[in-house]
């Protein structure tokens, strides 16, 4: 087209109207093709990276829900610049994270949970929501102890590192005592994450002593299940209303479990043994075992070990 417009072009008269029309047509097709290719390229790359965040990429504190975040974040990197620990980076084209958006990888550098949350203050668009003023309310992700086979505490050892480093220790992560069925006289202290307090900072994953961490932090959408909206927990409803909502129930005799449940109301919750007891004969009530701390525990393997 440029050349067509240049007055230098020698033979405008020699060009028949038909060939001029053809040239315009070809130009039009080229335009469509060029534009189309670009759009297709854009759409292709877009769809490739538009799905949910990859498992190991976490958004800065205060980030809107992913779809809103992608509408709001202009990819300016001001949050990256103001993070004093330099944990944030902007995704490059071709990375699984949408191009140019900020994220961090817990295992490389976790969020230090700054009290003044400078990253949120820096964001000019509200992609990082200034409603977040208490960093403990941040929900960057959710930790999950994914590997029960290699976590040292699950092996019955006392590592506890993920628990110790947690900035919200004893709320976001606790150690739950459980009988160690292997030795039968020790406890296992199982690191247990609580979704109502975990900020997803990633410190636990960063500090896990294993070559590949047994505890990992994921975007909440990946880490969390959800109950159906209509689901009500009977015991919570009962507690809230101060009694059963469906009146007193007829007590039916319970057969076969007389030793453990006879005489209980049928509406009373019966606590099932925590673990199956393969060695116990059916229908024979298992005597509660005692662990080293003398706490009576229900369930667990009875190895018949005697001191």
């Amino acid at each position: 087209m440029d050349s067509a417009r240049q007055p230098a072009r020698k033979s405008p008269a020699a060009e028949s109207p038909a060939s001029a029309a053809r040239r315009r047509f070809i130009n039009g097709v080229a335009a469509a093709a060029g534009g189309g290719c670009l759009m297709a390229l854009g759409a292709g790359l877009y769809s490739r990276s538009a799905s949910a965040l990859p498992a190991q990429a976490l958004r800065p504190p205060g980030a809107l829900a992913e779809s809103d975040f992608l509408a709001a974040c202009v990819r300016c990197g001001l949050c990256v610049r103001d993070c004093p620990y330099h944990i944030l980076k902007l995704a490059d084209l071709g990375e699984p994270v949408p191009t140019g958006t900020p994220y961090f990888t817990a295992r490389q550098l976790p969020c230090e949970m700054c009290d003044d949350i400078p990253c949120v203050k820096a964001c000019p668009t509200g992609a990082l929501d200034r409603e977040l003023t208490d960093i403990n309310q941040a929900r960057m992700g959710l930790a999950a102890l994914v590997d029960h086979e290699s976590c040292l505490n699950f092996l019955g050892l006392r590592c506890d590192v993920c628990y110790r480093v947690c900035p919200v220790i004893d709320k976001a992560i606790t150690l739950e005592t459980q009988h160690n069925p292997r030795s039968d006289r020790h406890a296992m202290l199982l690191p247990t994450v609580h979704s109502d307090a975990c900020t997803g900072c990633g410190k636990c994953e960063k500090s896990c002593v294993l070559p590949e961490p047994a505890i990992k932090v994921f975007p909440r959408k990946l880490a969390q299940g959800a109950l159906p909206a209509h689901y009500r927990k009977g015991w919570e409803e009962k507690a809230r209303h101060g009694g059963s909502l469906i009146g007193e129930q007829v007590e039916l005799p319970v057969r076969g479990f007389e030793g453990s449940t006879a005489g209980r109301s049928a509406t009373e919750t019966v606590v099932a043994p925590a673990t199956p007891e393969p060695s116990a004969a059916p229908a024979v009530p298992v005597p509660p075992s005692k662990d080293i701390s003398g706490v009576v525990r229900r369930g667990g393997l009875d190895s018949h070990w005697k001191p």
């Binding site: 070809i26 202009v74 300016c76």
Partner: protein, 286 residues
């Protein structure tokens, strides 16, 4: 990027190298300084501007935001904080005043790439290829606005070469280089001035801002023109020159088309010194 004096070896008094490259050098300097303002922080700990062309904060007080990006954000249904909106208003006002495509000539880093591609194409004498219709950029501009509204995301930012390159230069890049290389190859082999002149929706947007631009080029000494065609050859938007230089469809010597990037290259290459940089109301011609 050195430029080749395309012809006119017969000029009476050869102008100095400086006069032949002045605007190009000033422009490259401006582009480099914009980049340096963002890089002095990470490089030397001297923070002048933070962020990138999409949105930035200069000296801790002046917010600047790309108005096209702010427009797309609004179309997604998200209302940005006032910092981003103020920044967009400032940038919008500036380019409405000075001339929209001043951004292309003096700020945009892709311009260096496409200028290099045009130079290469001239050097290699490549004449082949198919140029898309110049209106394609407006279609693309409409397309990215629609895409933002429909997807509810800043869809164009996934691939926008302008922000890709500028962000990449400041924050590091890898994959984005392929897009930039693609534009270079496209401009050299397929379409002369293909990207900036025909496709880039950002250029189209800033072009639309240029209708009231104060800064303009004037072919004030057009009577001296000896039809050497040097200006047409180097101009990234050659169609803008004719009305002013040859008085086609207008009487005055001002280049009024908002496609003109005010790059001043025509001033540089013209041995007859036909062109000069001036303001919108300067209708003098000698």
């Amino acid at each position: 990027m050195a430029s080749v004096p395309v012809s006119s070896a017969d000029s009476a008094a050869p102008r100095s190298l400086w006069l032949r490259q002045r605007w190009l050098v000033l422009r490259r300097l401006s582009q480099a300084l914009v980049l340096l303002a963002f890089l002095s922080g990470p490089w030397f700990g001297l923070w002048i501007a933070k962020g990138n062309l999409s949105s930035s904060l200069t000296l801790g007080v002046l917010p600047l935001t790309d108005p096209l990006l702010a427009l797309q954000t609004l179309l997604t249904g998200h209302l940005p904080y006032s910092a981003a909106l103020t920044g967009a208003a400032i940038v919008l006002g500036f380019y409405l005043l000075v001339g929209g495509r001043v951004f292309c000539g003096w700020v945009c880093p892709v311009n260096v790439v496409t200028d290099a591609a045009a130079w290469t194409r001239r050097r290699l004498g490549i004449k082949t290829g198919r140029v898309p219709d110049a209106a394609t950029r407006y279609w693309l501009l409409g397309g990215i606005l629609v895409a933002a509204a429909v997807t509810g995301r800043l869809a164009w930012e996934w691939v926008n070469p302008v922000s890709l390159l500028h962000r990449g230069l400041i924050f590091g890049m890898g994959g984005g280089l392929f897009v930039i290389a693609g534009i270079f190859v496209y401009d050299v082999l397929v379409a002369s001035r293909g990207w900036c002149g025909h496709l880039c929706p950002m250029g189209a947007f800033y072009g639309l801002l240029g209708r009231t631009a104060l800064l303009r080029i004037s072919a004030s000494k057009r009577s001296a023109c000896d039809d050497c065609m040097d200006c047409f050859t180097v101009c990234p938007e050659p169609q803008v020159i004719r009305p002013a230089l040859k008085a086609v469809g207008q009487a005055g010597p001002l280049i009024l088309s908002s496609d003109c990037t005010t790059c001043g290259r025509c001033i540089d290459v013209c041995d007859k010194q036909v062109f000069k940089m001036t303001h919108r109301f300067d209708q003098r011609s000698e």
